[in-house]
């Protein structure tokens, strides 16, 4: 018999409230006609959105973040793809050690990486800016991408690649005709995850970006001025909507071209 468990239901309600209410405050206050983020709400306004639209430094920061995010996600997914192939398909020497070494940036605090990179970069006499930020983001994103792609790679049957070889394709064509399309949902997941990680990464960008602000650095810099605060709320609201759209697109892409198969999880 099905037993309706009220305690668990209440727990779930609280849990979701805890997760989402703080996030939902952002879009609510972004339409509030006041500089201060306090209830009761004063009135409805689009002013903050209009104000945001006219900030050219914000445009520049957004553009920087997208540029860094795209390069970092593509490069780290690319590196992770080869690493995943090696770890799952070949006998790698010192398997455990090299696996651990690649996943190490997971554990090393970001601030240590940031300090180390700033020392190396400046001692080579190079200028800080978006290039070292991008490199540090690649370093930071690769382990995440690798975990996604390795689990994806382990999830599909090795005999599919063998079947392709058996039907006359060499390893290059086997990769493009079988491995790549089967990995595609994982590759998309990896790209999106790496982009999102890079997009909201603060510490590395803070240390390495110099005057080329990324979006999180710009937002942080604006918080010092109370009058500039509301348009950050507007920006935050837009980011929430766009990110949700990206995730939904990924979900939709994932179901595309797979027949009706449901077990291709995106693995974010």
């Amino acid at each position: 018999m099905y037993n309706k468990n009220n305690t668990l239901f209440i727990y779930c309600v609280f849990y979701f409230a805890f997760l989402y209410i703080p996030v939902l405050l952002l879009p609510i206050f972004s339409f509030n006609d006041s500089f201060h983020m306090v209830f009761p709400l004063k009135g409805f306004t689009f002013d903050w959105y209009i104000q945001m639209w006219n900030k050219s430094r914000l445009h520049q920061a957004l553009f920087n973040s997208i540029k860094v995010g795209i390069i970092a996600s593509v490069v780290s997914t690319f590196i992770a793809l080869f690493a995943a192939k090696a770890f799952t398909r070949y006998k790698v020497k010192f398997h455990g050690l090299s696996y651990g070494a690649i996943l190490l940036p997971f554990i090393i605090p970001e601030i240590i990486i940031a300090v180390a990179l700033i020392v190396i970069w400046t001692s080579m006499g190079l200028k800080l800016g978006l290039i070292p930020v991008t490199i540090s983001h690649i370093l930071f994103c690769t382990p995440f991408c690798m975990l996604i792609l390795i689990s994806r790679m382990e999830g599909f049957d090795k005999s599919l690649e063998e079947a392709s070889m058996d039907l006359g394709e060499n390893s290059f064509w086997t990769f493009w005709r079988v491995t790549f399309p089967l990995l595609l949902p994982g590759i998309i997941a990896s790209l999106l995850l790496a982009f999102v990680i890079s997009f909201d990464e603060f510490i590395l960008a803070f240390f390495l970006s110099s005057s080329d602000q990324t979006l999180p650095i710009y937002m942080w810099s604006q918080l010092r001025f109370p009058k500039k605060f509301p348009h950050i709320l507007a920006l935050g609201a837009i980011i929430i909507i766009v990110t949700s759209l990206i995730v939904m697109t990924a979900y939709w892409l994932r179901n595309l071209g797979q027949g009706k198969k449901k077990d291709f999880s995106i693995g974010i």
Binding site: L160, E162, M165, E169, G259, K260, K261
Partner: protein, 360 residues
């Protein structure tokens, strides 16, 4: 009719690390032959098949296809195709494109390609399934698609890795006949790996029985059944009674042998047994008759007691405790004129010519 040996395997060994999975294999398979590799799991049969396909390379020895040395050739350059145990149907493309997969390099026009695919589907009786995906097919259908995908390449050799293992009994029996008919009509050499002795028996022209990396016997099914070369082969194929025996002497091709439960017997030496050989005496259950009184039609009659009866429909198995031995004898009849029940006294009778002398 003289057919030539298409596949030749010479002095082939394969080790994975310290484990030797194939030990000095020599084998020749004729063109157009249905050849089975039969053995328990871990006997090396799948490794041997994968070496033929090119997925594994032998540690020692050579493989020839049609007198060309293919030992180090990768799978994509071999004139063989494989049907995988789990079928390996590409899940991201439909049946049509699965079957077309291997035809990319043949530069066929769209019409020719369509025709090839259609014929392949007709061959496996799955016309109209072009647009299905792997997950919309049953196990049996996947198996047929895997077969069509391999055969559309018109291979010289088709390698099958336990392709019927995952199907239920009835479908498996249908597919056995279908595969056999397909092989006959195409005239392609089939190398069929299985652990199911019945499957090997019903389909093959010849069977190689394998155990622990060795090929123990290569013979047609009847030969393997009636003249197994050793104890392992005799026990692996069908049911058999094995009796301990003590070889006394050999004179003029007549062997004197003391058999557990049967006493001292004189048997003809068919298999070049020498006095130092360790031997057993074997007899198939259907070669023994059961009766209430001794039957003078047979030259051997022994008294015993019915311990158990198992009824299988087309045959009945009697397990009989011999009076002068610990041994329980298996006897099968399709229909016994006399009815027996458990604990009845009975006679087992057979002709001594049916007794097989089997090396250990």
């Amino acid at each position: 009719m003289r057919t030539k040996n298409y596949i030749k395997i010479k002095n082939l060994s394969k080790s994975f690390g310290d484990v030797e999975v194939l030990k000095n294999i020599n084998l020749e398979v004729e063109e157009g032959e249905f050849f089975s590799l039969l053995g328990p799991s871990g006997c090396g049969k799948t490794t041997l098949l994968r070496i033929l396909a090119g997925f594994e390379y032998p540690s020692e020895g050579e493989v020839f296809f049609d007198d060309a040395n293919v030992t180090s050739l990768p799978p994509n350059l071999r004139p063989s195709n494989m049907v995988f145990q789990n079928y390996a149907i590409f899940p991201h493309i439909n049946v049509q494109r699965n079957i077309e997969f291997g035809l990319r390099k043949e530069n066929l026009s769209k019409a020719e390609m369509g025709e090839r695919v259609e014929n392949a589907l007709k061959m496996v009786q799955l016309e109209g399934y072009e647009n299905r995906y792997s997950n919309q097919l049953s196990g049996g259908q996947r198996q047929r698609i895997a077969l069509a995908r391999a055969l559309v390449k018109q291979p010289k050799v088709l390698l099958l890795d336990e392709p019927l293992g995952a199907l239920d009994k009835k479908l498996r029996e249908e597919m056995q006949i279908e595969l056999r008919n397909l092989q006959k009509s195409l005239g392609i050499t089939f190398i069929f790996v299985t652990h199911d002795q019945e499957e090997a028996m019903t389909m093959s022209d010849r069977i190689a029985v394998m155990d622990e990396g060795n090929i123990l016997q290569v013979s047609p099914p009847r030969e393997i059944y009636h003249n197994p070369k050793n104890k392992f082969v005799s026990q692996f194929i069908g049911n058999i009674n094995i009796l301990d025996a003590d070889l006394k002497s050999i004179a003029n091709d007549i062997i004197s042998i003391s058999v557990d439960g049967f006493g001292l017997m004189q048997l003809k030496n068919h298999q070049n047994i020498i006095e130092s050989d360790q031997v057993n005496i074997a007899i198939r259950p259907e070669e023994i008759n059961i009766s209430k009184v001794s039957d003078s039609k047979y030259d051997c009659n022994f008294k015993g007691k019915v311990k158990n009866i198992s009824f299988y429909g087309e045959s009945t198995y009697f397990y009989i405790q011999l009076d002068n031995s610990e041994k329980i004898l298996m006897v099968s009849t399709n229909e016994s004129k006399e009815t027996f029940s458990e604990n009845d006294n009975c006679f087992v009778n057979f002709n001594s010519t049916n007794l097989k002398i089997i090396k250990d």
